[in-house]
């Protein structure tokens, strides 16, 4: 029983963390251009350009 008191909050916390991360990335527009993201790894960044 003592194990559960620690483990359950951890399990739920991790889940919530994932959910929060998903919401954050949704709000930051990371899902707006899924195909583009796949191509962007081939784009060479120019020196001094903003990320």
């Amino acid at each position: 029983m003592n194990g559960l008191i620690i483990l359950i909050p951890i399990a739920l916390g991790l889940g919530l963390l994932g959910l929060a991360a998903f919401f954050w990335s949704l709000r930051k527009g990371q899902f707006d251009d899924l195909d583009g993201a796949a191509w962007r790894i081939f784009v060479e960044e120019e020196e001094g350009r903003r990320p």
Binding site: M1, L4, I8, A11, L12, G15, L16, G18, L19, F22, F23, L26, F31, D32, D33, L34, D35, G36, A37, W39, R40, I41, F42, V43, E44, E46, R49
Partner: protein
């Protein structure tokens, strides 16, 4: 300058294809001093620009074309579009929340199923409740809202049993938890919401995707014009800001953004999108010209008489509004199923409750069984049956170059048994193509290319396209100079070469251009609107699918007849938009389901009225807005592919329904007899959903 002086706007750039394009655009555009930031959205083929407020639109378009891209500003009607995108994001958030809840409750439920008892079980049930109740309150809103709307109007829909089921299950589970009962159905409630939300979300994603594609295509209407001010200077004015009495300067190759009267210059105007007529019309001073038509030859000055909603298109828009009402009465297959299903589900649950009460099981036990019946019949599989199949079909069609606007379009397309096809721009390519280029001497061809590629005139562009297709290299010429309305001159090995209007000879309605060297004609190139390469095949394929085809054209009989003969079709000619609309209504009155395929403004009402409709990517904005789906490229074969795919999708949807009904035949008696524990419900729900999705995936191989 200050940051406040920046304007943000989206541009559709249909040619974004690879990583190179992204890099080229983003890095190239910001080299322009007036552009502060550029961000490519590859999925929607858009570029988002922030630029200094007083930059003229042509300069921005120029910045794109310097990099080798065609760009079109996306009109300022994003309000409505954003609302739809917002719905889809809201659904996605709900999917995420219910997914999280489902997995976490399942974590706890599995322990209960595998034998947790006593205080541990109660604790786990309480924890499940703490997760499930807020989730249902948040993720259930789309269903509660829709159910409430239906009930308020005295009707019922699929969302009513869902809402009642979920609410009832939560209430009973809470009571069970409070009284240390053995079974709580929180996992079932969360899972039900998750699967149903997935279905909703897929449906809305499909609409979003098609809408993005359509927006990127909307460009034919001039989105603005160069306006000559009182001081004689020109400035760019957006189509929405144009007002009567302004004077527009319309360059050759530009589409008119408003109705007006020619006040200076003369040219020929291509009316094909407006009336379907293939021969261009000459216009002089005092002639009326209409928005959406294409200026072919020379720059003209046009005094605006009507802009925006007052243009000739407004009449067509009114007809379209009326025509579209019939279509909005179409009831989608899921809703038709719900009409039968919802009363059945309610009836069964009620019967279960009454039956067990009579049998003396007590209200607690009876209610628990009624809830189990509700949750087991509440159709996870039914909610997914339609959208899963339709999104797979739409994805496959999109890969084949067809945009389908929504799921109901696929359902209606599957039912058509008669097709009306417009001629200009639909059976034909709708653009002048140079004829007989391969009969010309190689030297002549390279001279032609050298001259034509220097001009933006529509005929030159068509000539360039034709010549590049047969691998011609341009000759070396110097001192290129273009005189708008007359032609291009250049020096070639010390001789004067010219490409322009034919000097003599009568070509009737044919469009032609002439190449001369030192004033002596060397070659005459005629242009004609060709049939699409696979038109004949497509017509035959449509007929083999049991669809009768007929041409409805606004063009004159002499122009339509050769096409009709070549394809072996009957044709009606010289039809006004009203005539086309009536032709469709007559067929509809006979109980036929008409597929309208057309491109022009004049086809708009017919496209809206047809049981289903399609337009080519080169169609007018009105045509593309009215059509259910849009096929890209020069081939018309996609029309047949869409019909076949739609029929196949419908077959899969029916199989999915059959699977869902079959599952109910097994599950409902079990639920009725009270054998359905939360574990059984969970297995049944996820199992049937997987079957339905798996079946839908079979559509993936239909086209290839």
């Amino acid at each position: 300058m200050s940051v406040a002086a920046l304007i943000e706007r989206d541009f559709a750039v249909p040619d974004i294809r690879c990583a190179g394009c992204i890099a080229k655009l983003e890095q190239g555009l910001i080299r322009d001093k007036r552009i502060a930031a550029a961000r490519v959205n590859f999925t929607e083929k858009r570029v988002h620009l922030s630029y200094i407020a007083d930059t003229d639109m042509p300069d921005l378009i120029g910045a794109f074309s310097n990099l080798g891209f065609e760009a079109h500003p996306i009109g300022d009607g994003p309000g409505e579009a954003d609302a739809e995108a917002e719905t889809s994001r809201e659904l996605l958030r709900a999917v995420a929340v219910s997914g999280f809840a489902m997995m976490n409750i399942m974590l706890l439920s599995v322990s209960v199923w595998s034998g947790a008892a006593g205080a541990t079980r109660d604790l786990f049930h309480w924890l499940s409740a703490a997760i499930a109740l807020p989730t249902v309150a948040y993720a259930g809103r789309p269903f509660f809202r829709s159910a409430w709307r239906a009930l308020r109007h005295g009707g019922t829909n699929m969302d009513v049993p869902i809402s009642i089921g979920v609410a009832l299950v939560c209430a009973i589970s809470l009571y069970e938890t409070a009284t240390s009962g053995p079974h709580a159905y929180f996992d079932g409630a969360a899972m039900l919401l998750f699967f149903l939300l997935c279905g909703r979300w897929l449906d809305s994603v499909m609409r979003d995707r098609a809408r993005g594609g359509v927006t990127a295509l909307l460009r034919n209407m001039g989105t603005g014009a160069m306006v000559v001010g009182d001081d004689g200077r020109t400035r760019w004015v957006d189509a929405t800001a144009l007002e009567p009495a302004m004077t527009m300067l319309v360059a050759a190759g530009e589409r008119l953004a408003a109705d007006g009267i020619v006040v200076g210059g003369e040219s020929r105007i291509d009316l094909s999108l407006l009336t379907g007529e293939s021969a261009p019309q000459r216009v002089h001073a005092d002639d009326r010209v209409h928005a959406g038509t294409l200026n072919l030859d020379a720059p003209v000055r046009v005094r605006v008489t009507a802009a925006g909603a007052d243009t000739t298109i407004a009449d067509i828009a009114r007809l379209m509004g009326e025509a579209a009402q019939a279509k909005s009465r179409y009831v989608r297959i899921a809703d038709r199923a719900a009409r039968l299903y919802a009363p059945a589900v309610h009836g069964l649950a009620l019967m279960a409750f009454a039956g067990w009460m009579v049998a003396g099981a007590g209200w607690h036990q009876s209610l628990l069984i009624a809830a189990a019946v509700l949750i087991i019949t509440c159709p996870c599989a039914l909610g997914l049956a339609v959208p899963a199949a339709q999104i797979v079909a739409a994805g496959e069609l999109m890969r084949a170059g067809v945009l389908v606007k929504d799921g109901s379009a696929l359902e209606r397309l599957a039912e058509v048994d008669r097709a009306f096809v417009d001629k200009t721009g639909t059976l034909t390519l709708g653009r002048p193509d140079a004829v007989g280029l391969d009969r010309l001497d190689i030297g002549v061809r390279s001279l032609l290319l050298a001259l034509s590629q220097a001009s933006r005139h529509p005929l030159s562009e068509s000539l360039t396209r034709g010549l590049q297709a047969c691998d011609v290299r341009p000759a070396e010429v110097t001192s290129l100079r273009e005189t708008p309305g007359f032609g291009i001159k250049a020096l070639w090995a010390g001789r004067l070469v010219e490409l322009g209007r034919p000097q003599g000879g009568d070509f009737g309605d044919m469009i032609a251009t002439e190449l001369s060297v030192d004033g002596r004609p060397v070659a005459t190139i005629r242009f004609a609107d060709r049939l699409r390469p696979d038109a004949a095949e497509t017509i035959r394929a449509l007929e083999s699918e049991g669809i009768e085809v007929m041409i409805l054209s606004g063009d004159r009989a002499e122009a339509v007849m050769p096409v009709a003969r070549q394809l072996g079709l009957t044709a009606q000619t010289g039809m006004s938009p009203q005539d086309k609309l009536e032709a469709i209504e007559r067929q509809a009155a006979l109980g036929r389901k008409v597929l309208m395929i057309g491109d022009g403004l004049n086809d708009g009402p017919a496209l809206a009225a047809g049981h289903a409709s399609m337009a080519p990517g080169s169609a007018s904005d009105v045509g593309k807005n009215a059509a259910d789906c849009i096929f890209l490229g020069d081939r018309i074969m996609p029309v047949v592919q869409v019909v076949r795919m739609a029929r196949r999708t419908q077959a899969i949807v029916r199989q999915n329904f059959a699977a869902a009904v079959g599952y109910n035949m097994v599950a409902v008696p079990l639920a009725f007899l009270g054998f359905v524990t939360p574990l059984v419900a969970a297995i049944a729900m996820s199992g049937s959903s997987l079957i339905v999705v798996g079946n839908a995936l079979r559509l993936k191989r239909t086209i290839r």
